[in-house]
Symmetry: C2
C-alpha cells in the first residue's frame, strides 16, 4: 500500500527517487519519529526560493527587484504552499504521530506546507536542481499564468489612480474621518470618494496609509463593477 | 583597462563569462545607469541561500533546522557579504555614478554586498548552479572551517550551563535586579552569579531572556578567561 502511494506521488512530482529513503524522510513529521523532515525543509525552502526567483526573473523582465521580492513572498507563504500540498494529496501520505493524526494533522496548513518544502529539498538532493526546478515550474504554472504583470506589486491607491486616468476621470479624494490611539497603537478611519461616479467607501487601518489603501481597493472594485454592469446593460 | 580588470575578477571568481554583458550588469550600480544590478541581486540572493543551505546541510548533519537557519542568516548579512566583496576587490571594478564615487560608494557595505549578490546571480544565469555553488563554497571555505559545530546555534545560557557541567561545577543563578516600562517597551536588568568562582556579572535587555543571555555570555567569558589564566600560571 505504502509503495503504491509513494509511486503515485512520485508520478505527480515527475521525479523517480534514486534514494527512496529521502522521499520517506520528506514525508515524515517529527511527531512520527526520526529522521524527520525538518532539515530537508530547511534545504527545500532555499530550493523553492531559487526556483521561483528564476521563474519570476525570466517571466517579468520589467519588474524591479522590490516588486519581484513582493511577488515571490506571496508565492511562498504557508497558505499558498498548503494549497499546493492539498492539490498533491500530500496529507494522505504523510507519516504523523497518532496524536497528530487525531488532532487533524493531515489537514494542518503548517504541516502540509513544511512537508512540501521538505519534498523540494529531497528532490534537489536526489536529482539536483533541474528536476526540482521543473517540478516547481509545473506546480506554480497556474499561479504564474494568472499573475498580472500590469498590476503586480502596485498598491491599491496607485492602481485606482491609474485606472481613473485611463478613464479620463478626475482623481479620488481621501478624507481622514477619525484618528485615535497613542503612537504605538493608532487606528485610522478614512474614506475615499470618486465624486463623479458617486462612489464613497470607507477604509480603516493602523496607519493612515493602510486605511487609504483599503478604501482605494474597495473603491476600485466598485468602480470597475459599475463599469462592467454598464457595459452589460 | 576595463577588460584586464574584468579578466582578473573572473579569475578570482573561477568562472569565465560566456555572456560578458551579465558580468557588466552585475558590476553596475543604479547610480551609473541601466541596466543595473538590482534584478540580478534579487536572483543572486536566492542562489547564495541555496548554496549555503546545501553546504551547511552537508557539513553539519547534527544541527537542527532552527540552528541551520540561524547559522545561514549569520553568513548572509550585509557585513559578512561586504567583507567577502572587499576580499575580491569588488569596489575597484564597480561602475558607480560620479556622486556615489565621491561620497565613498566604493567602500559602502550596502553597495558592496548588493554587487556581490548580483555577481552570484550573474554566474548562475551564465553557467548554471554548479559554477555558482563551487565559487560560493570556495568563498565561504575559511568561514565554514572556523564554525564550531559544538557551539553553533546554541544560546549563551545553554553554553554556560554545558561548560559548568563539563567542569563539574554547580549551575549559575540568575537574578532580576530591575524591570521597568510598559509591556511594549520593557527593560530588564539582571545578574548572573557563579558563586563558586566568585563571578557576578550584569546583563540588560528588552526582555528577561535577552538580559539573562547577555549576562550568561559575559559570565562564560570571565570563567573561561580565569581558567586559561590559571592554567598559564
Amino acid at each position: 500500500m505504502r509503495r503504491q502511494e509513494d509511486r503515485a506521488l512520485q508520478a505527480r512530482i515527475g521525479h523517480d527517487f534514486a534514494d527512496a529513503s529521502l522521499l520517506q524522510q520528506a514525508l515524515t513529521h517529527r511527531s512520527f519519529g526520526t529522521p524527520h523532515n525538518e532539515r530537508l525543509e530547511f534545504l527545500g525552502d532555499s530550493v523553492l526560493s531559487l526556483a521561483l526567483s528564476n521563474l519570476l526573473y525570466e517571466r517579468f523582465p520589467q519588474l524591479s527587484e522590490g516588486e519581484l521580492s513582493r511577488v515571490r513572498s506571496n508565492l511562498v507563504n504557508q497558505q499558498a504552499l498548503a494549497e499546493l500540498a492539498i492539490g498533491l494529496k500530500l496529507g494522505q501520505v504523510l507519516r504523523l504521530g497518532e496524536g497528530e493524526v487525531k488532532s487533524g494533522g493531515r489537514e494542518r496548513p503548517s504541516i502540509l506546507a513544511d512537508a512540501l518544502e521538505a519534498l523540494f529539498g529531497a528532490v534537489y538532493l536526489d536529482g539536483g536542481l533541474a528536476p526540482a526546478l521543473a517540478w516547481i515550474a509545473r506546480l506554480y504554472q497556474p499561479v504564474l499564468v494568472s499573475l498580472n504583470p500590469q498590476t503586480l506589486g502596485k498598491d491599491p491607491k496607485t492602481l485606482l489612480q491609474e485606472w481613473l486616468q485611463g478613464q479620463r476621470l478626475p482623481l479620488p479624494v481621501y478624507r481622514v474621518l477619525q484618528a485615535q490611539g497613542a503612537s504605538h497603537a493608532q487606528s485610522f478611519a478614512v474614506e475615499c470618494e470618486i465624486a463623479v461616479l458617486g462612489i464613497t467607501v470607507p477604509g480603516s487601518g493602523n496607519s493612515r496609509r493602510l486605511a487609504e489603501q483599503e478604501a482605494a481597493k474597495a473603491a476600485l472594485q466598485q468602480a470597475q463593477q459599475r463599469q462592467a454592469n454598464k457595459k452589460a446593460s
